[in-house]
């Protein structure tokens, strides 16, 4: 993301102008835009003109519109952000108050105006504009019959393909059916792989599975690549890394990213850091439950006592439509920072973020044990998870 212009006053209201450069930036934009903001960008609008004689003429025009945001929609598959709302600056084509949906595109600048830019959003902009190289990686998590082909960027884990086939088991005298089923399964993965993986971007391909499936598959993949004369796969052979995972389901990615061999290779990947933080939390919960809190009430109480050492928050919470909710979380984060605590904002698209989201979205490791007070917030928690 490129930051072109930034204009903020003392009250932190103002506007920024940004150019998204890659699909990842769309995710950042999605986290920046909130209901009530105004956003200005060029767009294509279908315009109807009626001539004096009454004939209707429809034409598409490119025009720049400013809308007040009412709805935000992020498509993870295409990495497209759609923002809808009413027009607030009239021009020759579009009347005031007319509804329009802006499609934020890559490499086209937009200007976002907020009444209040809070610390989280500002941090997000910094992060998005950090020119540090992003390590994009592809992970294939598989077990016999199930495979997930995932694209992992610093703040997103996108499942590009989920492959599921039933493979006949081994059975007296019918082993070849098992083999055939297995090869069919592998072929499907290879197809998905060729369709979704672009080696210009991808730095590393992780193949993870329990048992020998990964080895078997890798051998098969290269053999097939040779047969099909697929140069890209053969040339990028060094990018393939085999890792152990306990199953082929998506959440097994967590284990994959926690694997020390992998973390060394992808040192700066946010995903791996998040996994580590969540693991720490769980370890703390095991060893000293009074030092590991989760749920927003509990965490707030801990903040009051300046007890929080590390706060884990899911970015989902900041996308809340409810402004007061959002403010509550922002103030939580701010006060933790003030007290010298560390804040990790998890991407809800990563597996670890998903898990944190299930765990009420906020968790904390405390500096010192605080005995828990019972039962007060349970109802709220329960309502959270449905």
């Amino acid at each position: 993301m490129k930051l072109l212009h930034r204009d903020m006053d003392k009250t932190n209201s103002g506007s920024v102008t940004l150019i998204p450069e890659e699909s990842e930036d769309m995710w950042h934009a999605y986290n920046l835009v909130a209901v009530g903001d105004t956003i200005r960008s060029t767009t294509i609008r279908k315009v109807q003109t009626e001539s004096a004689t009454g004939s209707v003429n429809v034409s598409k025009v490119r025009t720049t519109l400013t809308i007040q945001v009412e709805g935000i929609d992020f498509d993870t598959q295409a990495c497209v952000l759609r923002v809808s709302g009413r027009n607030i600056s009239e021009n020759q084509y579009v009347k005031m108050g007319a509804y329009h949906t802006l499609l934020l595109e890559m490499n086209r600048q937009f200007t976002l105006n907020k009444q209040e830019w809070d610390s989280i959003t500002l941090e997000r902009i910094d992060q998005a504009c950090d020119p540090a190289q992003h390590a994009d990686l592809v992970a294939i998590v598989m077990q016999e019959g199930i495979a997930h082909l995932c694209l992992i960027t610093p703040s997103m884990t996108l499942v590009r393909a989920k492959i599921e086939t039933s493979i006949p088991r081994k059975r007296k005298g019918l082993c070849d059916q098992h083999t055939k089923g297995l090869h069919r399964f592998y072929n499907q993965i290879i197809q998905a792989f060729q369709r979704h993986v672009n080696f210009d971007i991808v730095k590393c391909v992780l193949i993870a599975s329990p048992g020998f499936v990964k080895d078997h598959f890798t051998d098969y993949l290269f053999a097939e690549a040779l047969k099909m004369d697929d140069k890209t796969i053969i040339e990028n052979r060094s990018k393939f890394v085999l890792v152990h995972s306990s199953s082929g389901f998506k959440h097994a990615l967590k284990e994959v990213l926690a694997d020390p061999a992998i973390t060394a290779r992808l040192s700066d990947t946010k995903a791996a850091g998040e996994v580590k933080a969540l693991d720490d939390f769980y370890t703390m919960l095991q060893t000293d439950p009074d030092r590991a809190y989760y749920g927003v009430r509990h965490c707030e109480r801990a903040v009051e006592n300046q007890a929080i050492e590390i706060l884990l928050v899911s970015d989902e919470l900041f996308r809340s439509q409810d402004i007061s909710q959002r403010k509550r979380y922002v103030s939580l984060v701010d006060s933790v920072r003030e007290n010298g605590g560390d804040v990790r904002i998890f991407s809800s698209l990563h597996v670890s973020g998903e898990q944190l989201g299930q765990l009420s979205g906020v968790a904390a490791i405390l500096r010192f044990p605080m005995p828990e007070e019972d039962e007060e917030e349970e109802d709220e928690n329960d309502s959270d998870d449905d």
């Binding site: 081994k170 059916q177 083999t179 306990s246 199953s247 967590k254 828990e372």
Partner: protein, 786 residues
């Protein structure tokens, strides 16, 4: 480098395929000469077709007569089919082996010209003397064969579905099974055209003793058909002939009609009536439900039927009827019958599903492979082949494991990866053996296997250091034992394997038994009486089926109990036959000629060909076309049986591993969210809500999330310790809600004990075992759970 590798992998593939071809036939590797193998498995018109022709031809029949010894008065041709039949049934394993080898030799000499049944008869008659048998056959071949009549074709098709019933029916000499009146029995009889054997009785067709013939509408036309039919077969005895014809015809009818129960009944009636029409030829040969009748009853019935023959023959008839084990009444309505049949079959030999578990490289497959070999389930030739091939790979110690590890990958890596299933018989039991993988990555497969088992053999590697690694934290010995206990396995035999590596040291044995005994009874929760220990060696085969001979072992191991004896002592569980039918699909595959099959263990109830069933969660109805147990067609399968079922009326895409076949009258429910009681094992990180787990249930593993922690329980008393705990730590017990990624068919523990258990795993460790308490939410499919 890469090029080199590619070449290698290609070769590897080729080899793989080549071998594959062999493996796919490996069952009959003994007859490794391909024509005979082919003859055995490809269906050959010449082979079984000619029965009927033989039947009506006395000269031909002369040869095939085994029973002649027993009763000279027998009309020989009658006994033909029976003798073959009974021979098949009663052959001991050794005899069977002899028979097989003779058969093969005979084939080489005679080619395909002689039907197998005739071969078998002749060989048995000649007491497995090959030369004599061949001589007899060759002389016999000169006899002109009667023309085959077209109808027989259909019969033949039955023949092939058949041998199923054999294992349960220990018919002594009897053709009673073939009574035309029972469709089932006809279907199950190995030889379609049947002249009742109790050949004493001249008139071939025998009416069910108990029931008097009732005329039905359906019957009349049958009779007509029968009458028409009477002409073609020409045989010296007119009365017999007509009887035959009648029987034949009826059978054909039976074959043609769908196998639904009402029809069967009708047919039975028709059969009876027909016999009446033939003119009192009929005599009692009960294979109908009435088979259980007391001897006296039978006798009177038999007499009433107007038997010809003397007292002795009547007696023999009666006797022959009594031991019949299987009334194959198809009508599901009569549940009593089914129960009765079950109890009878049960009385024969008890069925036991046995899973072999233990740490990786404990020698599970080798132990069981050797056991199978000793029990004669694997023939020498195959074994020799394995030995040679494994030697080639430099893994000669794996030869026995190859019996069970059939895939190329398993063999080359020397690790079992998926559960192998096979079957063997001991003196008292029919054992379905499930050989589970020991490697920790394949525990999902092991769970699948164990969930289908009643009892377990826990194999321990006695080698110094190895036992310890397997038993320490991180070893699979513990995990497997806990899993087995949690999945409902109540009895376990601990096979202390590889005792030869520690010189059969008593100390070592006692150390292991002591440690394990404590663990199994205290921690895993087995009852002390249900845990037994056996020292053995899978590689040398010591103390498996034969009493120990090694002096070091004999010295201290008293009383010497072999592994097989120990298995014989296990008690099979009570099986829920009276519950509605359930079968969790563990495999879906196609097979040439029989559409697509599903495999699995019948979880409860019973199933018969022709039954309508519902496949959940797809909520599709289908019809059971065939039921196979151990590759043999059966007419009924009960809870506990490992079956293959051929389905019709449903597309293969609707049936997945994990689908549940169930009784349409009370289908299972599919659930997306369940409430369950879980017992948490020794885990590294506590369970909180939102904890992602893998949910293992029967043969399925699905991602799931623990949504709510409802309350923590006292592990022993079950009292609520804390409501809504924040997290669940190790070794606790709790009630939780679990949300599944998509709907699965689960059963409540209160309804179906076996089907209400599941396991939770995370990160490659088993974290909890659970019991389904309630289905909180279920997404209805289109048809709902109807």
């Amino acid at each position: 480098m890469s090029r080199h590798r590619m070449v290698r992998s290609m070769n590897y593939e080729d080899e793989y395929y080549d071998d594959e071809d062999e493996y796919s036939r490996s069952v009959e590797d003994s007859y490794c000469i391909s024509p005979s193998t082919a003859a055995q498995f490809t269906w050959n018109r010449e082979k079984n077709v000619n029965f009927a022709s033989y039947m009506n031809n006395e000269e031909v029949i002369d040869e095939g007569d085994e029973d002649a010894e027993e009763d000279d008065s027998l009309s020989q041709h009658n006994s033909l089919s029976d003798s073959a039949n009974s021979a098949k049934l009663r052959l001991s394993e050794i005899d069977q082996a002899k028979l097989n080898s003779c058969l093969e030799e005979a084939r080489n000499i005679l080619g395909e010209s002689t039907p197998e049944s005739v071969l078998v008869d002749v060989i048995i008659e000649n007491h497995f003397n090959l030369d004599a048998a061949v001589n007899q056959l060759l002389t016999q071949q000169d006899v002109p064969k009667p023309q085959r009549e077209p109808r027989q074709r259909r019969n033949r098709s039955q023949v092939f579905t058949v041998p199923a019933s054999t294992e349960t029916t220990s018919l002594s000499d009897v053709g009673s099974d073939k009574h035309p009146s029972s469709t089932d029995s006809v279907l199950s009889a190995p030889y379609p055209i049947t002249v009742p054997t109790a050949s004493v009785v001249k008139p071939t067709i025998v009416t069910p003793a108990a029931s008097s013939a009732k005329a039905t509408v359906g019957f009349l036309e049958r009779e007509d058909g029968m009458v028409k039919k009477q002409t073609p077969p020409v045989s010296p005895l007119p009365s017999k002939k007509s009887g035959d014809a009648g029987g034949l015809k009826l059978k054909i009818d039976a074959a043609n009609s769908p196998r639904s129960s009402p029809k069967t009944v009708q047919q039975q009636k028709a059969g009876k009536k027909a016999e009446g029409a033939v003119g009192g030829l009929a005599e009692g040969n009960g294979d109908v439900a009435g088979r259980e009748l007391a001897g006296t009853h039978l006798r009177s019935a038999v007499e009433m039927m107007g038997l010809e023959g003397d007292e002795g023959t009547i007696q023999s008839t009666v006797d022959s009827m009594k031991p019949l084990a299987t009334p194959k009444s198809k009508s599901k309505a009569s549940k009593l019958d089914v129960m009765a049949e079950y109890s009878k079959r049960h009385g024969d030999k008890e069925l036991l599903n046995l899973v072999v578990i233990g740490h990786v490289d404990a020698g599970k497959s080798t132990l069981m492979g050797h056991l199978l070999y000793q029990l004669g389930s694997v023939n020498k030739k195959t074994m020799h082949k394995y030995e040679q091939e494994s030697k080639k790979l430099g893994k000669s110690s794996f030869a026995f494991a190859w019996v069970l590890d059939e895939t190329e990958e398993e063999r080359s890596r020397g690790v079992t990866m998926d559960v192998a299933q096979t079957r063997f018989e001991t003196g008292k039991k029919i054992v379905t053996l499930l050989d589970a993988p020991g490697h920790k990555d394949f525990i999902p497969n092991m769970i699948t296997g164990t969930s289908q088992a009643d009892v377990a053999v826990l194999v321990i590697n006695a080698t110094r250091g190895e036992f310890e690694t397997g038993f320490d934290a991180g070893g699979q010995t513990r995990e497997h034992a806990l899993l087995a206990r949690s999945l409902g396995v109540g009895q376990v035999i601990v096979a202390v394997n590889k005792m030869d590596t520690v010189d059969w040291s008593q100390e070592r044995y006692e150390l292991i038994t002591k440690k394990l005994g404590q663990f199994l009874t205290r921690q895993a929760g087995f009852r002390e009486a249900d845990v037994t220990f056996v020292p053995c060696s899978g590689l040398s085969g010591e103390n498996l089926s034969r009493p120990p001979t090694v002096p070091e072992l004999v010295a201290w191991y008293t009383p010497a109990v072999t592994l097989v004896e120990q298995i014989d002592k296990l008690r099979p569980p009570v099986r829920p036959i009276d519950k509605p039918f359930r079968l969790n699909v563990s495999d879906v595959f196609t097979r040439v000629g029989s559409g697509f099959n599903v495999a699995g263990r019948v979880g409860s109830g019973f199933v018969q060909p022709g039954d309508k069933i519902i496949i959940m969660p797809a909520a599709m109805t289908a019809t059971v076309k065939n039921v196979y147990i151990d590759e043999v067609p059966e007419t009924v399968a009960f809870a506990g049986d490992q079956v293959n079922i051929t389905l019709s009326g449903v597309d293969m895409v609707n049936v997945n591993i994990g689908s549940c076949l169930c009784d349409p009258a009370s289908p299972t429910r599919s659930a997306t969210r369940i409430r369950a009681k879980i017992v948490i094992f020794n885990i590294a990180v506590p369970i909180t809500k939102g904890f992602p787990v893998v949910f293992h249930y029967q043969s399925i593993n699905e991602p799931a999330v623990i949504k709510r922690l409802l309350c923590q329980l006292n592990r022993n008393t079950g009292e609520v310790v804390k409501r809504k705990p924040r997290c669940l730590v190790k070794n606790s017990s709790a009630v939780v809600e679990i949300e599944l990624e998509r709907s699965l068919c689960v059963e409540l523990y209160t309804d179906f004990k076996d089907l209400g258990r599941f396991m939770l795993r995370s990160g490659g460790h088993t974290i909890a075992a659970g019991l389904v308490e309630e289905i909180v939410q279920s997404k209805m499919r289109q048809n709902g759970s109807s």
